[in-house]
């Protein structure tokens, strides 16, 4: 490597990005040195992905300067960035599953003359590129038949082969198991020792402390700061990411009642399991209680909810609804049994973007009633009026297409969709993700009201304090397994954090 060890390899000064009137990123600095693994952290909406897109030339920055290896750069396309020496490996491997490993490594720059491909050369070159990372993969295998982890290794090999000097790893570990993560880290450390600079984006704090040297934290599109990993305690890091001090994190809702073991269960799961998603799990979701499901991303939270709601089929175990064995094979079955599930993926699994607020709002109720028993127009409008007011949905009228609303208001419409079905259990998966603070508080207040009204609530959230503030019981998941539960006043963020991180909790906390 020719990069001087003294100066930084990559340096961003005052970089900003606007999309029309929306400022996604403003005045961000980032410094990455050769031979360093640099964590880029922040909550959803912090601006990480925008920053990466600016770095890789997907977006052009609106302001600021970018220096790479001492030169001012202005990448206008991923190809541009790659040529400069900046390569990216995405969580969703951006390679071609239908082609062979060798081809994926060399697509667009196959050895050969005048546009012809020299297949022998392709294979040889591919084998060498993989060997450099100590990987033993059949270069003729179809990429799609490999595990995601191996596909990512191939992506890394491709990036290295492009003479990358800076490797951006965008949530590469999200769908890897423990062994695969270890293998990835082995490769990352090896590259670091060879002088490669890496930007590592992840949601897993353990991994930050396991492998990174420095941390840059973003929040709401602005820079919070750059820190040496070893100097930044875990709790301090969390508070920087969410923008609140540890002290004012704890506050549990004042009116939270103690857990009541005599309250009847709406839904009970016994030994519910699905291979690759969740190990056998027991859950007891009682009337008038908020059960928190705590765990890091990828711990099996959403997977559990999908099983309960009939989206995925379980491999074993049973679900009982109001004490009776229930066969839930689709969301339709679940809705008819009085279950509701507000998915974390608002855009993909929630809204019908081009339909009106009214249509979005009554959809689940109408689905529950069937095609013949139409919700009368007057009733639809009454429901809209009620929920627009009760949930303070900001919209000119109920006929506006839902895509025109802000994320928070969309979320409220989706909550209204489920409340309109008068459910007995409502599963809320990340109900406050990506929405503004005001709407957050309102949604949390709503959770309290639902509990008081006697609903069973299953609350899933990445934000520990959100769980702590609102839950009467918490079930903790780790690595796709139920590892424990916390009840009543014992529910505190540190307690949850310890349970989520497990006994082997590393890092500097």
């Amino acid at each position: 490597m020719t990069a001087p060890s003294d100066g930084p390899l990559l340096s961003l000064r005052g970089v900003g990005k606007r999309f029309g009137p929306v400022t996604a990123l403003s005045n961000v600095d980032l410094t990455v040195r050769a031979g360093e693994i640099h964590a880029l952290l922040g909550e959803n909406g912090a601006g990480k992905s925008t920053l990466i897109k600016v770095l890789t030339g997907v977006h052009e920055r609106s302001e600021g300067e970018m220096f790479f290896a001492g030169q001012a750069i202005h990448p206008r396309s991923p190809k541009d960035a790659e040529r400069a020496g900046i390569s990216t490996v995405y969580q969703e491997v951006n390679l071609l599953p239908g082609l062979s490993v060798a081809e994926n490594l060399l697509l667009g720059r196959q050895p050969g003359r005048a546009g012809f491909v020299n297949w022998g050369g392709v294979r040889r070159h591919a084998r060498e590129a993989l060997a450099r990372l100590g990987l033993d993969i059949d270069v003729d295998a179809e990429l799609g038949t490999l595990s995601v982890a191996l596909q990512q290794m191939v992506a890394i090999a491709r990036a290295l082969d492009l003479k990358a000097r800076l490797l951006i790893l965008d949530e590469p570990t999200a769908s890897l198991d423990e062994k695969e993560v270890a293998e990835l880290f082995r490769i990352m450390r090896r590259l670091r020792s060879e002088g490669m600079a890496m930007i590592f984006v992840t949601h897993f704090l353990d991994q930050v402390y396991a492998v990174t040297d420095r941390i840059t934290v973003l929040r709401n599109g602005t820079l919070v700061g750059e820190y040496l990993t070893q100097d930044l305690p875990r709790l301090a890091l969390v508070s920087k990411m969410i923008g609140r001090e540890v002290n004012d994190m704890a506050g549990r809702a004042a009116d939270l009642p103690p857990p009541d073991d005599s309250a009847p269960a709406v839904v009970e799961a016994r030994g519910l399991e699905r291979r690759g998603a969740i190990q056998p799990i027991d859950l007891m979701l009682r009337r008038g209680e908020v059960t928190g499901l705590a765990g890091l991303l990828g711990s099996g939270r959403t997977e559990t909810a999908r099983l309960l709601f009939g989206i995925d089929r379980p491999d074993g175990g049973e679900i009982r609804v109001r004490g009776e064995a229930a066969k839930i094979q689709s969301a339709r079955d679940a809705v008819r049994l009085g279950l509701a599930f507000c998915s974390e993926d608002r855009k993909g699994e929630g809204i019908l973007p081009n339909l009106s607020i009214r249509e979005n709002l009554i959809l689940a109720l109408q689905a529950k009633q069937g095609v013949w028993k139409t919700v009368q127009r007057s009733e639809q409008e009454a429901l809209c009026r009620h929920y627009i007011e009760a949930l303070r949905i900001k919209t000119p009228d109920a006929e506006t297409p839902i895509k025109n609303l802000s994320g928070g208001n969309q979320q409220k419409v989706l909550l209204a969709r489920w409340l309109a079905t008068r459910p007995e259990l409502i599963i809320l998966d990340e109900p406050t993700r990506g929405i503004d603070i005001g709407a957050r508080a309102e949604i949390e207040a709503l959770i309290g009201r639902l509990r008081a009204d006697g609903l069973a609530v299953l609350l899933i959230s990445s934000e520990i304090e959100e769980i702590a503030r609102n839950s009467t019981r918490v079930v903790v998941l780790r690595e796709r397994r139920r590892t424990g539960s916390v009840e009543g006043d014992a529910i505190t963020p540190p307690a949850l954090m310890r349970a989520m991180a497990g006994a082997s909790e590393g890092g500097a906390s």
Binding site: I311, S330, A331, R332, G348, G350, Q366, A367, K368, V371
Partner: protein, 330 residues
């Protein structure tokens, strides 16, 4: 949904239709004249309605399929198969009821097969319906042995040629179907379900909708429409020609829906728009005929029309045009 809002996209095909009628009037001032002869209406508008009836029926079914984000390429071939089977049965001496049931049965089966492949096996609609597009015409030719089967049953011919109080029966049937469909789709939740599946299938499923069932059913309805259109086509010329029957009709039906303002990506559908779109296409064909263009050349203006409509609807094309205008000003 207020009336004015739901109507606004329908204005475009309506304007197109008005322009065409105006062009025709300029060429032939008697274009809109309708006369009564032997208690029966005659005139170009009646011709257009009469010849357009089959396209209308197909457009109805196609609208629903396209609203779910799909497409059915097999309707033309299914038409041929349904018409052929009915004609062959009649020729063998079976009655009207048997012929009609068999024709609709062909449509039902074809629709069910398409629906199964798309909704159950998750095969792309273009690919899935391509199979019956190939097989359907082969089956039609097999049934008629490649010959034109003449229909002598007057009761059957009524479906394509009869009149009610002097008004042709076929367009009345098509109009009645549209009215019934509109009522059914908007009075029950079925219209909402179809639009929901087309707009975001996953979200619809998560909301408790039987999305696969909805998708399967629209193909069944579309197949039934194709079967009926096949019967109407055979009845209209009192014969089943397995080569020509329904030829290119899948394209006409898709064009009618697209011109009528329903997006090929699915979601919101406009039944009235498709109705006007189908009439617009038929009027275009008649206009070509009026201009003395041989019928075989008539596809050319259709192609131009569809390209224009596609470009008008394409966001990329609009952005490109805007950038051109802006660039020009600089």
């Amino acid at each position: 949904m207020s009336k004015s809002k739901s109507l606004s996209p329908v204005w475009w095909p309506l304007i197109g239709l008005a322009v065409l009628v105006a062009v025709n009037l300029a060429l032939n001032p008697a274009f809109l004249n309708v006369t009564v002869l032997d208690g029966r209406l005659y005139g170009l508008p009646i011709d257009i309605l009469n010849q357009g009836a089959r396209g209308l029926v197909l457009a109805l079914g196609m609208t629903l399929v396209i609203a779910t984000g799909g497409v059915d390429l097999s309707v033309g071939s299914v038409m041929a198969a349904a018409g052929a089977l009915a004609a062959v049965l009649l020729a063998e001496g079976h009655g009207l009821a048997v012929a009609l049931t068999a024709g609709l049965g062909v449509g039902l089966l074809a629709g069910a097969a398409n629906g199964l492949l798309v909704a159950r096996f998750g095969i792309q609609p273009i690919v899935a319906t391509l199979i019956l597009m190939v097989v359907g015409r082969g089956a039609a030719q097999l049934m008629t042995n490649g010959e034109v089967v003449v229909i002598k049953n007057d009761a059957f011919a009524f479906v394509g040629n009869g009149t009610v109080f002097g008004f042709p029966f076929a367009p009345l049937l098509a109009i009645a179907l549209f009215v019934a469909a509109q009522l059914f789709l908007r009075r029950t939740a079925s219209g909402l379900f179809i639009e929901a599946v087309g707009d975001n299938e996953t979200a619809a499923r998560f909301a408790g909708l039987g999305a696969a069932r909805v998708k399967g059913l629209v193909y069944v309805i579309c197949g039934l429409c194709a079967g009926l259109a096949g019967l109407m086509a055979a009845a209209n010329i009192r014969a089943a020609d397995s080569y020509r029957m329904g030829e290119n009709m899948e394209l006409d039906a898709i064009f009618a829906v697209v011109v009528g303002g329903t997006a090929l990506t699915g979601g919101r559908f406009l039944l009235l728009g498709s109705f006007i779109g189908a009439l617009l296409l038929q009027t275009l064909t008649t206009t070509m005929y009026n201009l003395g263009v041989p019928p075989a050349v008539a596809p050319v203006p259709k192609a131009v029309l569809i390209l224009v409509v596609c470009l008008l609807q394409s966001e990329h094309a609009r952005r490109w045009a805007v950038s051109l205008v802006k660039g020009g000003k600089k």
